[in-house]
């Protein structure tokens, strides 16, 4: 096989890791609360700014800044639910979607106000690994590994703990959760916190590789929605698989045509697939 194609494929897999993490967070929230946070990528963006600010302005060590950023976005998640979702839980689902759309606007512009439109970079230069003729950036590899670890931790949490089981149960039969002694509101808040935390983790991983600017959410946000819908909205495993499929489409067509065309292609593939099978590849 062409060595550069192999490199593209590998990079695609590595990219898929972070996308999968993003999809997990979005799917988790949708599965439990039944709302799509259109502004999810913007929460990640704020997490990225948090990492940047703590390290470059306050001089915190990177690891500490990352932990703080994760907690910060988890808190943001709780606020989103309390201030935006809860007041309209009863109204039409589309209203909830639109409300998070307003949040998207708000976060993008707030970031512009607070941070300006310049691209900010962590300034960390991690080495490039050489495997034969293939070059793999260490930061990308690290991001992939951490993303997988995060996904595994989530899996263990959801399958082994009481709270995790309750979170999975809510998606299956909301009404009788009270009979199990589960306070629905608490579950929603905890899930929003976890979803936010996952976004925060993704923010740290993205900050290792990319610059941040107020509109960066537009580069991976729509893709994340695509991935979730393709895998079946709310289906964690589906989203996980779809993330790698989409990232491969992007990587391989990026290699053969161009990066920009690859994104167009990914979206077109998405539209076609959804119109053929709206419930997603692994949807119910």
């Amino acid at each position: 096989m062409d060595i550069y194609l192999l490199e593209a494929v590998i990079n695609g897999v590595l990219l898929g890791g972070v996308l999968a993490l993003l999809a997990l967070g979005l799917n988790l929230i949708f599965g439990v609360v039944d709302v799509v946070w259109i502004a999810y990528a913007e929460l990640v963006m704020f997490g990225m700014y948090a990492v940047y600010w703590l390290t470059n302005v306050y001089g915190w060590p990177v690891l500490l800044a990352c932990v703080a950023a994760i907690l910060f976005v988890a808190l943001l998640g709780v606020l989103v639910h309390l201030l935006i979702i809860e007041p309209i839980l009863g109204s039409a689902p589309i209203n909830q979607l639109l409300a998070t759309g307003g949040l998207l606007f708000f976060l993008q512009s707030l970031a512009t106000l607070l941070f300006g439109t310049d691209f900010r970079n962590l300034g960390i230069r991690l080495p490039i690994i050489e495997l034969g003729d293939i070059f793999i950036s260490f930061s990308r590899l690290l991001a992939f590994i951490v993303a997988l670890l995060g996904a595994s931790a989530l899996y263990l949490f959801l399958s082994r703990t009481f709270l995790g089981t309750a979170i999975r149960a809510v998606a299956q039969d909301r009404e009788i959760m009270g009979l199990m002694g589960v306070d629905q509101r608490r579950i929603y808040l905890i899930t929003s916190a976890i979803g936010g935390g996952l976004a925060g983790l993704a923010a740290c991983l993205l900050m290792l590789q990319y610059d941040v600017h107020p509109f960066i959410g537009l580069t991976f946000g729509p893709i994340t929605f695509m991935i979730c819908v393709l895998g079946g909205l709310g289906n964690m495993i589906g989203g996980f698989v779809a993330a790698f499929i989409i990232s491969q489409i992007i990587a391989i067509s990026g290699y053969y045509v161009s990066i920009e065309a690859s994104y167009v292609l990914a979206f077109v593939v998405f539209i076609v697939l959804v119109l053929i099978r709206p419930q997603g590849i692994l949807g119910k």
Binding site: F162, T165, A166, R168, A169, Q172, D173, E175, I176, M177, G178, L179, M180, G181, V182, D183, Q184
Partner: protein
């Protein structure tokens, strides 16, 4: 003791219960019988907190429960086995049982309670890793009852446990109820299968169109001509 005083409830503008009063003493098994649409399920849902009462009050062991949300009522010791089982279909049997033990007080004793339920229902242990939705009706009923028992409730509410089950399985379910009673649980059962339920409970109430029409000892009601004619096909 569970006491309902003058409970009224309904859905929107539709009223299903009109001033229902009843009581269940600890250690008893009480039945509520009546035709379809009488309000039996509504009654269960009010007690377990799934549906707010529009009027009246109910208390358990002196503690007023009328305005409490469902998750607090189960913490107070009342567990509800819902109509149609309502298991979490994609969770395994064991995970469903785990959900039954969600309360902190139950979580602490999860392992021993799980062992106890598996002793009561060996079939559940066989199928512990099977998704609950793939089991047969009778097995699902066992699982639903087991799930409610995981919180070691003081009162077990059972909503039409025999619904949708084959006659042989129905017999097994009522044997189960006897065994549960034997273990010392207080039970309030709502049932359409009048004949079998009257053989299992001490007392019963007849609920028709949201009103309590009759109440008394089970044996008495079983001899009642009207009941025999209307509900037992005799």
């Amino acid at each position: 003791m569970l006491t309902l005083t003058d409970i009224s409830a309904g859905y929107g503008s539709f009223q299903a219960l009109f001033g229902v009063s009843l009581e269940v003493k600890l250690g008893e098994a009480v039945g509520v019988i009546g035709p379809n649409g009488a309000g039996k399920t509504t009654l269960m849902r009010v007690i377990s907190g799934l549906l707010p009462a529009k009027g009246g009050a109910f208390s358990f062991e002196g503690r007023a429960l009328t305005t409490l949300p469902a998750h607090r009522i189960v913490a107070a010791g009342i567990a509800h086995v819902p109509e149609n089982r309502r298991l979490f279909p994609r969770l395994t049997v064991e995970e469903n049982l785990r959900m039954g033990a969600f309360l902190p007080s139950a979580r602490r004793h999860f392992a021993e309670r799980l062992a106890w339920i598996y002793e009561l229902f060996p079939r559940l242990e066989e199928r512990r890793r099977q998704p609950a939705g793939t089991m047969s009706g009778g097995e699902q009923q066992m699982c639903a009852i087991g799930r409610a028992l995981m919180s070691k409730p003081q009162i077990l509410l059972m909503d039409e446990p025999s619904a949708g089950l084959a006659p042989l399985i129905v017999d097994q379910v009522f044997d189960l109820v006897r065994r549960i009673r034997g273990e010392g649980f207080t039970v309030l059962i709502v049932e359409q299968n009048v004949q079998q339920v009257l053989e299992v409970v001490d007392r019963a109430y007849l609920l028709e169109s949201g009103h309590i029409k009759l109440s008394g000892a089970a044996a008495e009601l079983a001899r009642n001509d009207d009941i025999r004619r209307s509900y037992m096909g005799i």
